[in-house]
Symmetry: C2
Subunit: 202 residues, 2 copies
């Protein structure tokens, strides 16, 4: 009975953006980060700023050239402000990096190897996003149950052999960089009682 009513398309594109504080912060950064700790320190700073400034969840990610430490792009979690459940830090950082390099494959022939640096193991969605992005290295501060236990965020069902899945696809995994600082960040987030937005806790 409703067949006669036409569909009116109101949305034919969408835009995801970084918060303005991060845009400003980026312009104050050096071009290169010459140690694992310096890269992770930047990611932890951005994750902290993001929840403290109320511009998203306590997660950040950076894409670097693996061997030179050159910063390519940063992302932070933007789910709530951008009204987009896929706007996790990893998707933001990888998409920004792909726009910077004008290609969907960061592992394309002719490109230097790229690394994504994240303040914890990616969720189920972002694990897939990393596989498809072309990065050749993933650096995380930790991979344990602390994230879910401390913050209440649901990280979803990972394939059990996720480390082997990375290895079999030629993606290096660097774990445990600034682990205690990353856990403290989650504790600080939990202490704020900011909302945790798991969509499907039915």
């Amino acid at each position: 009975m409703c067949q006669q009513t036409p569909f009116i398309p109101t949305q034919v594109s969408f835009q995801l953006d970084l918060p303005s504080w991060l845009t400003h912060k980026l312009s104050t950064l050096p071009q290169h980060f010459d140690s694992d700790e310096k890269k992770m320190q930047l990611v932890l700073e951005c994750a902290t700023d993001n929840f403290q400034r109320n511009t998203g969840g306590p997660f950040a990610a950076g894409v670097f050239e693996r061997d030179t430490g050159k910063l390519v792009a940063m992302g932070v979690n933007r789910v709530v402000p951008t009204q987009c459940s896929s706007a996790h830090a990893e998707v933001m950082a990888l998409s920004m990096a792909q726009q910077v390099l004008s290609h969907y494959d960061l592992g394309r022939g002719g490109f230097p190897a790229h690394q994504i640096v994240i303040n914890w193991r990616p969720c189920a969605m972002c694990f897939g996003a990393i596989l498809w992005s072309g990065v050749r290295s993933v650096m995380i501060a930790g991979a344990g149950a602390e994230l879910e236990a401390i913050t209440g965020f649901d990280e979803g069902p990972m394939t059990p052999n996720w480390r082997q899945e990375l290895e079999s696809r030629g993606i290096e995994l660097v774990e445990g960089v600034m682990n205690q600082q990353a856990i403290e960040l989650f504790e600080n987030f939990a202490a704020t009682n900011r909302p945790v937005y798991n969509a499907r806790v039915s």
Copy 2:
């Protein structure tokens, strides 16, 4: 030695768009689709048009109100044209729907239940994206090995008990709608010899 060189941020946002043929097609559609087959037919048409018009891979997704069949948003795979490896059909459709409804959670209290209709089982990334989107129903034409076997696309490591993961989160799964037509679509795609862009086949 490179520490003095400042980082110059060139990318602080990115936009993902539908192809113009789909924008036009949407304006010709009815508002409601009153059967599973009519919803899937639309998705299969869009997936076919997308690869035939060279605007992305052979995948489409629609978000509907589950009980009324009202169309909310459509998406198609846009990885290559938008230079974004996360621009799969499901991420496009879910993100468009969230913009239409101005909320990151399609399962928010007060909203009608939403359903995503896809021409095959989602990849590892999109499975996670669906969990986080708030949809309460997933309809697929098939879930078997045919997609990877026929097209060569890598769908990534799914958690083995993905059906139970949906069920335990209160997300209904409807399988096998227009299965043969979906397989024929992949065969037609394979016959074109268009590039398959698996990023990390190392």
